[in-house]
Symmetry: C2
Subunit: 258 residues, 2 copies
């Protein structure tokens, strides 16, 4: 398969850097094609602005979404954005390797999504009418591709469980899993997570390496998180989950099939 | 009061820019002191890396958290970080004005948190023992200060309600409200949100302006979201919510008092 790793850590000798190397080596030796976007090494332009569009009139008020759609359709996006979009189109699987900072991805990776997930490419795709409110949430440009988050977390696992003070990790990752990847049509594999990352010993690392390789060996067969499709009848015409699926539950988990 | 507005939008003529101006003008005319960090205008350095520390040995492996703590305690953080920290210490209220992009804040603002919320300043504060696992979640450097998110959202309100396909807005904002602001000790006021931001007419804007001014006039009296304190007895020694508070509920809402 074609595997695209988006890697966001400022230190090559970090646990994140090592996990990225584990993936590259293991996947290549398993016969896959692998490419990596090392966002820090690329000095990735992080902040979305009018320079993302080569022909935007500097006197004109910037509506980022509309400017993004226009540039995408007219081939006037900045070159760094286009290259990342080409990698996404090439990939069968996309792996995101990053540390969990302030309960989310590092800014440099958020800036990759803000800029690369352009209008007409990752959102604003398909017809918008009563039956089909855009090709999103299970449909869209990335349909058929798989996404996997590989995340390192400083805190302890039990602080991220159902009663943990930080909130459940599945809910903390929901805006990425559901709001970015599934939104754009990608199936989402269960995340690979290392807790207490800063305290990782050499011996523990060898253990994580084996666990990660095991996960990587099952990329093809692994079952994705069963998020609900927007346009398959589970939601009403206002994109609200039909009442029959709400069994006293609340929160993000409603949007995962039982 | 001293009010600090952190503003993140690339276009001054945007709805976000206008709401920022509404706040500045209204609060000043109400007798408050107001300062603004306009992150785009400041060309805010977004990506956290070793250049955030003026004396980090470039041969040494970068552990960002430890380097952050050391630089904070030794006065060797980069100047832009120090300045923002001084503004935070000066402020009684901090307002964050930003558009909701991919279910979170723009990268440039995430990069403000990643860099300014340093170790020893916004986290890693206080004693860590069985009774007091750090001064966090309601305690810490920002105790006594208030935070307010003012957010513009492209989508429709009903897509963000309890059954809305995007997930409930309170849950989507939880990683910011609870994981960043409350974590560092700030009380969190209910957010001011404008939906379908891209479709705002002049007439609607006048309405939003009045609504926002009304909210701003009550900064002192407004009741914050009653997030639970970590060290007040609601959590066990592993920072998990005690079972007696879990009444069949799940998800982020567990961490808000009834």
């Amino acid at each position: 398969m074609n595997i695209f790793i988006v890697y966001a850590h400022p230190e090559p000798r970090s646990l994140n850097g090592s996990l990225k190397d584990v993936a590259v080596n293991f996947l290549r030796s398993s016969g896959h094609e692998v490419i990596v976007s090392d966002l820090y090494a690329m000095s990735w332009k992080t902040a979305a602005d009018r320079n993302d569009f080569t022909r935007h009139n500097s006197d004109q008020r910037l509506f980022y979404m509309y400017a993004s759609a226009q540039a995408y359709h007219h081939g006037t996006q900045s070159n760094d954005i286009e290259k990342e979009q080409e990698k996404l189109l090439w990939a069968d699987v996309v792996i995101f390797q990053f540390p969990f900072w302030w309960f989310g991805m590092p800014a440099i990776l958020k800036g990759w999504f803000d800029r690369v997930f352009a209008c007409g490419f990752a959102y604003g795709v398909g017809q918008y009418d009563k039956k089909n409110y855009g090709n999103r949430y299970g449909e869209g440009t990335f349909k058929g591709k798989k996404g996997l988050l590989s995340v390192t977390i400083g805190g302890r696992k039990h602080q991220y469980d159902q009663r943990g003070i930080n909130g459940p990790i599945d809910d903390l990752l929901f805006p990425i899993h559901h709001g970015m990847l599934w939104y754009a049509g990608m199936s989402v594999l269960p995340p690979f997570i290392v807790y207490q990352a800063d305290k990782t010993s050499e011996k523990q690392f060898e253990n994580y390496k084996l666990q990660y390789q095991e996960r990587l060996s099952r990329l093809r067969a692994a079952q994705p998180i069963p998020f609900r499709y927007q346009n398959n009848g589970d939601y009403n015409h206002r994109q609200q989950l039909k009442r029959k699926f709400v069994n006293g539950e609340s929160g993000f988990s409603l949007h995962v099939e039982e």
